[in-house]
Assembly symmetry: C2
Homo-oligomer: 149 residues x 2
DNA sequence: ACTTGAAGCTTCAAGCTTGAAATTAATAAT
DNA sequence: ATTATTAATTTCAAGCTTGAAGCTTCAAGT
């Protein structure tokens, strides 16, 4: 009897590389879409999305944790959004170390438009996925994150 | 009868965000691992991996296509690897526009070590995935990339 | 009250990344 | 042969990203 199936370790590596490739491809597509059609960037979009969904002022540290980026990174992107008048920093009244960030009115209006375009583009990108595949995907991702978590 | 299942468009978006989150988490983990344990970076590792697997000199443009990055990016990373003596650029003899890149002997030796450590870390990271989940994952990814491709 | 330690944010240098412009070279079309 | 087009790579500016260092502020422990 010959060795039929690849060893688990090797298969995990190959699968990880496939996921990485898929994600990079999709990210590149969305970056180009945001640039060409919406005149913005992926990191700016991500920050605006987080602020929009939070629906209330967010601490800088909450923001960077949410997005899985460093604090320094969050500072830099929020700086640029603030310069463009899309985000606002407000000093906390209870703790003078923390700064709260929100979208400005202009920022909320802008993101509402961006979100529609972005969602439509993601829909196109994953048009091959129906409810069945989405169910499978959710199951697998949950399992990947750990059965205990 | 109430609206039970989320609309397809919305589910596709949510799934994409979940994938993105999973990938970023894993990438952050591996970046930190390569930095702390192997004293290198993710982009350097990726370039070395591509060169190692190609097993023959590779055009700069082939490299950037393989990794889904811009030409300028490939140039920059290869520059640094070359400075560190891990990669070598060789001018093509048949077409004076193209440069071939390879790992140096030192580069191959170095990557052999890195690859083992990296594979082991990926194995730990996805320890929850057995053959069944890996099969499912492959099926879904293929379907995402398009039924026709 | 005072010190110590930790938390929240920013700053900074180095490296990464893109997209556009520039350079050089091959190919095609007059 | 000359010109135009296309291709391969590099260069460059701007922006992104990290990790470490620094600053300010809060919370505990003495």
């Amino acid at each position: 009897m010959t060795e039929q199936t690849a060893p688990l370790t090797r298969r995990r590596l190959r699968t990880w590389l496939r996921i990485l490739r898929l994600t990079r491809g999709a990210e590149n597509h969305l970056r180009e879409f945001l640039r060409a059609e919406c005149d913005t960037t992926l990191p700016r979009f991500d920050v605006m999305a987080a602020l929009y969904r939070a629906d209330k002022p967010m601490k800088m540290s909450e923001l960077s944790q949410k997005l899985l980026v460093s604090n320094g990174n969050a500072t830099a992107v929020v700086d640029r959004l603030e310069q463009d008048g899309l985000a606002i920093r407000v000093a906390s009244e209870t703790d003078r170390r923390v700064k709260h960030v929100t979208l400005s009115d202009a920022g909320r209006d802008r993101f509402a438009v961006l979100a529609r375009a972005h969602e439509a583009e993601v829909d196109k990108l994953f048009a091959n996925l129906g409810h069945d595949e989405l169910d499978m995907m959710r199951t697998i991702i949950r399992r990947m994150e750990g059965p205990s978590q």
